[in-house]
């Protein structure tokens, strides 16, 4: 019953899962049941894969996180290289889903969200920077105030 998957096979699966997540974020409507797939389901699945890979292989490697050479040694092992890669996939996708949700909240057109999401997919922090520097220009104060006021008037 015990089958060992090759790193290549796992790489393909993780890459495909992340790709479908990004397609959902970029093209599909923002409905809760759909958004849950890229925001939670795929990152959790990839997270489990990452956990398994790290638990199984980290201690047998001579590498560490303390220096560039240590990290390179870590990545000599194909399983740890794969773990490093799926770490990107999971975090980038989760950040992408967060950007999508927060973009909708400030009324950022899906048209302009698209290049930001693609930038996050390809070069994670670049996309995050683009979105954060747009969002920093917005305030939420009047939005929440209005909500509170309607709430008070209803209760009175």
């Amino acid at each position: 019953m015990h089958t060992v998957l090759t790193p290549d096979q796992l790489f393909t699966w993780a890459g495909q899962a992340a790709f479908y997540g990004w397609i959902i974020l970029i093209f599909l409507p923002r409905i809760k049941v759909i958004l849950i797939i890229p925001k939670y389901i795929i990152p959790i699945a990839i997270g489990l894969m990452y956990g398994g890979l790290m638990l199984a292989h980290y201690s047998s490697s001579n590498g560490d996180f303390a220096s560039l050479i240590g990290v390179r040694t870590l990545f000599d092992n194909d399983y740890l290289l794969l773990a490093g890669w799926v770490h990107y996939l999971a975090f980038d996708l989760f950040i992408g889903a967060w950007i999508a949700k927060k973009s909708d909240a400030i009324g950022l057109s899906r048209l302009i969200q698209t290049p930001i999401l693609i930038a996050t997919y390809m070069f994670g922090p670049v996309g995050l920077f683009l979105f954060l520097s747009i969002r920093v220009m917005f305030t939420r104060t009047d939005f929440t105030k209005n909500k509170e006021q309607t709430h008070v008037s209803q209760s009175v």
Binding site: P29, R30, D104, A105, I106, G107, L108, S109, R110, L111, I112, T114, P115, I116, V126, F129, L130, F131, S133, I134, V136, M137, F138, T139, R140, T141, D142, F143, N146
Partner: protein, 281 residues
Amino acid sequence: MSAKVFNYHNKQYPSLVFGLSKRMENDFITRILLMSFLFLMAVTLILIPGYYFDSRLLNNAPIWAKPIKFSMALAMHFITLAILAQQLERSRRTGVLLTFFVYLAVVSMIFEQGYISIQAARGRHSHFNGDTPFETLMYNFMGIGAVNLILASFALGLLIWKYGNKDRSGLRLGSILGLTIGSVLTLIYGMTMGNSPSHLVGEAVNHSTVPLLGWSREVGDLRIPHFIATHMMQLLPLLGLFLDKLRFSPKIIVSLVTFIFVMMSAIFFDWALVGRSVFPL
């Protein structure tokens, strides 16, 4: 249906910090134009480290200079459209005509800025590139995209003329003249440049350029008339607004400055075509 796909229900969105959007309406056209501006400013910021980290040169200029210049110029274009569109009534601003041209302009902006940045990263020319079939095709698309960007400002100029608040303000006069004449001249100069083998006319030897703007100081440079024509769209409304604040009659001054800009761009265009530099050594 399409309204829902693009997330434009009549929902209340947060406004800009420091009350920057207080004089702007919260309709989807103003919003997408402002967002385009913010997006392009963000792109400019992220490209600056590239400018300092990357030592590659293209056309004797740092490789990221061009994407930065484009993102800044496009940002100015979109904030201008957002502010000047406030002269229209909301129903007119969100009408079919302007919606169509604004969306076309935003799509073209994303394409132009994206392609120019990708080509810079690859160390390849974006404009004037016929090296591969793909790059030739993309160069043609960039021409279409540039026309789309100009169409939006031209349409806005005509709409303000026809449906704007018909007062005698300098802002109105400057907006109409700047947007319409600026767009037409930009189109003429841009298309001439697009059909030339290069933005330079003549053989540059020591590649001496004007600082910051990068215009040639040796040979004719078709980008100079393009620059004047395009930035008329910002300068004339600003001049009009300034005259309104000073309570000067704007009619003569704005018309005269428009005439000067048109003549300047035409003369520099002529010089560029015969290979003469505006800023000779």
